[in-house]
Amino acid sequence: MAASGARLHLVTPVWNRSTRGIRGLSRAVGPEGSQKKGRSLLQFLADRFYDVQALREYLLRKQVLTVHQKNRPFTYIQERFGPHVAGVYFILKQGGAVKFQGKEWIRSNARGHFPLDFVTFQAVPVEAVDASGCAINYQGLDSLLALKELQSLWLQRCPHVDDWCLSRLHPLANSLQELSLAGCPRISERGLACLHHLQNLRRLDISDLPAVSNPGLTQILVEEMLPSCEVLGADWAQGLKSGPEEQSRDTASPIPA
């Protein structure tokens, strides 16, 4: 039923525009414009019939369970090959990419298949993980945190990475040097506050975080919190509301000598 292997996203309508098909029927998000007509009929029915209500609740739970299923731990691989390999397998299965030290990037192709020769790399540390766009959540970080010598972690545009996940990153404090959180819809300044554990961090990308209330101020505070880290984020002037009008007024009136 899921056309073209598209991933299911629970949250913001920005990431999931289609309401066609039975999966679009119930979502725990506030209604948006064009979807209102279809939703109000269902809401009408759900208010009046227990069956429709139960069906909608079931579909909602199903969506949640799908995300859980994606983040399940691979216990067999963990027991057989160790947590290191299980972590790498988890990332690759989610659709991410892994780079071992001294080797090339390993990525899954369009069909979801990837080479399995990394099982022999048990002693080789993993340098970088690119989990951009993956449906990794708090549960899935279990597998990721097994990679103790990780130096770069990219979590761009991950729809389920939130403040709770950031509070879990402290075991990687010794090795992590680069972290990118750009475009994650659930991260706010409250989660960024617990990045102070990562004292070896040299590059942090916190641009385009829609849930951060005050991007300019947050960037300043994060820079103060991590003095030896280069923070890429919103330009500090973005937080100022009266932008263009005040500037033009200043240039128009001459400054008294």
Binding site: V11, S26, A28, V29, G30, P31, R39, Q43, A46, Q53, R56, E57, L60, R61, V64, Y138, D163, W164, L166, S167, R168, H170, S188, E189, R190, G191, L192, A193, C194, H196, H197, S213, N214, L217, T218, L221, V222, E224, M225
Partner: protein, 471 residues
């Protein structure tokens, strides 16, 4: 009418009075009259309810949620939540500072808090309502930092050991490590510190309350805005194995009175849950708990009292930054960051002698000047220049016996269950306590977390479950 006529001719005036009364009554019964036996009672609570929960704060709503969630068949249990104060203006839930920690010394407290944080983390799975937006409880995972002086260092070490055993992520820090990590702390007098790395922080209690309320309403729980004024119960006598006679009471009806009116509704119920927070002692007295000779089980009162606590909100421009955890000093003073603008919330628990009068919620600003500011300014030198912007007061449902919660049924009033007395850490244990009470009601025993040390019996037996850290 017959009697009126035969009483005698002397009482002619009386006779006429009685006749006219009877005439008036007959006239009112006929259509168009004033008497209407089938009047509208939709503003009153229902006449029957399986469970009546006295108190609609976070604990009461949590019990309602878990009762509906753990019931065997959909719609099996009818639950009524009675809340006196529909604006929650004096409820402890919304006036709370909103912190959650696992740094306790009693293992059950740690387990309760661990489950509650898991509940909060997955709140949008537990409290999801179709078509409603997801909840954002604004959780700050900043952790708690407890500071101990020389005297308390050994206790802190043993506490941390217990916490680690239960699964909390806590680490111990020496004064030097503290100075490296948080340069704004003055470590003079600090021998040891324990820092929670995960699962600790603070959140917005109002959001949790609204989320619970919304979900619980969608599950079919009835709400009533009213006050419980009376319990109608029946007694039965039983003889224990040792030959003593005990009087068991069973509550049959709860009289719920509406605000600003004399109207009340007797709600027939099977189980009553006392989640009235700071006023639980009064509700328990109404039910007959503690009415007996002192020293016996019948004479053991519920030792939960109102205690007033102040919270102050100040601004300090050079204060600690984004990484500030919830700091609790060895002296008992605490503070935490609030927002991004160098604002902080904090307070201190007064000693027994300095307890303020809980009659009203007026704030005593001298308390801040004399008791809160000096220890905080000594610990964080930047706080020497601060400006108090706001302050409020709230109630603790203070358990004078051992400052820990009372959960479970009363041994004599057999269908009254308690979920109160948490003395300042009720909010952070609410989801887990709700589940424990629901398990007790539905299954008769605790299933997931064993809270038998928190039963009412301990007040009679004198067994204290003493906690070594409370704010």
């Amino acid at each position: 009418a017959h009697d009126g006529k035969t009483v005698g001719r002397l009482g002619e005036g009386n006779q006429n009075g009685k006749l006219s009364e009877i005439k008036k009554k007959i006239q009112s019964v006929l259509p168009g009259g004033a008497w209407n036996p089938l009047y509208n009672t939709s503003h009153l609570p229902p006449e029957h309810s399986d469970v009546v929960i006295v108190g609609g704060g976070v604990i009461g709503l949590s019990v309602a949620y878990w009762l509906k969630r753990l019931e065997k068949r959909r719609g099996a249990i009818r639950v009524l939540v009675v809340e006196r104060d529909h604006t929650y203006s004096r409820a402890s839930t919304v006036l709370s500072v909103g912190g959650i920690r696992q740094q306790f010394s009693v293992p059950e407290n740690i387990q309760l808090s661990l489950f509650s944080i898991e509940f909060l983390r997955n709140i949008n799975e537990y409290l999801a309502v179709v078509d409603d937006p997801p909840l954002d409880i604004q959780f700050n995972p900043a952790g708690y930092l407890l500071l101990a002086s020389e005297k308390g260092a050994a206790v802190m070490e043993s506490n941390v050991k217990v916490q680690r055993q239960e699964g909390a992520k806590v680490c111990l820090m020496s004064p030097e490590q503290l100075r490296n990590k948080f340069p704004w702390i003055n470590t003079e007098g600090v021998a040891l510190a324990s820092y929670g790395m995960e699962h600790e922080g603070w959140f917005d209690p109002w959001c949790l309350l609204q989320g619970l309320r919304r979900k619980v309403q969608s599950m079919g729980v009835l709400f009533c805005h009213g006050e419980v004024t009376r319990f109608v119960s029946s007694s039965s006598h039983a003889v224990t194995t040792s030959g003593e006679e005990v009087t068991l009471k069973r509550i049959h009806e709860v009289h719920v009175k509406r605000d600003h009116s004399l109207e009340y509704q007797p709600v027939e119920c099977a189980i009553v849950i006392n989640a009235a927070g700071a006023w639980s002692g009064q509700i328990a007295e109404l039910a007959g708990v503690g009415k007996g000779p002192p020293g016996t089980l019948q004479g053991t009162r519920l030792p939960v009292e109102l205690r007033k606590r102040y919270v102050y909100f100040w601004h300090c421009p050079q204060g600690p930054g984004l990484e500030t955890p919830f700091v609790i000093d060895a002296s008992g003073a605490y503070f935490r960051r609030e927002g991004l603008g160098n604002n902080y919330l904090g307070g201190c628990s007064p000693t027994e002698e300095e307890e303020p009068d809980p009659g009203n919620l007026e704030v005593d600003h001298d308390f801040f000047q004399n008791k809160v500011w000096p220890p905080l300014a000594q610990r964080v030198p930047a706080f020497e220049t601060l400006k108090v912007r706001n302050a409020w007061a709230g109630y603790y449902d203070y358990n004078t016996f051992d400052q820990n919660g009372v959960v479970g049924p009363h041994p004599l009033v057999v269908n009254m269950y308690f979920a109160t007395g948490f003395s300042g850490h009720g909010l952070q244990q609410a989801p887990a306590v709700g589940r424990a009470v629901a398990e007790m009601v539905l299954d008769g025993h605790f299933q997931t977390i064993n809270l038998s040390p928190f039963l009412f019996n301990r007040f009679y037996l004198g067994v204290k479950v003493q906690e070594h850290n409370i704010i």
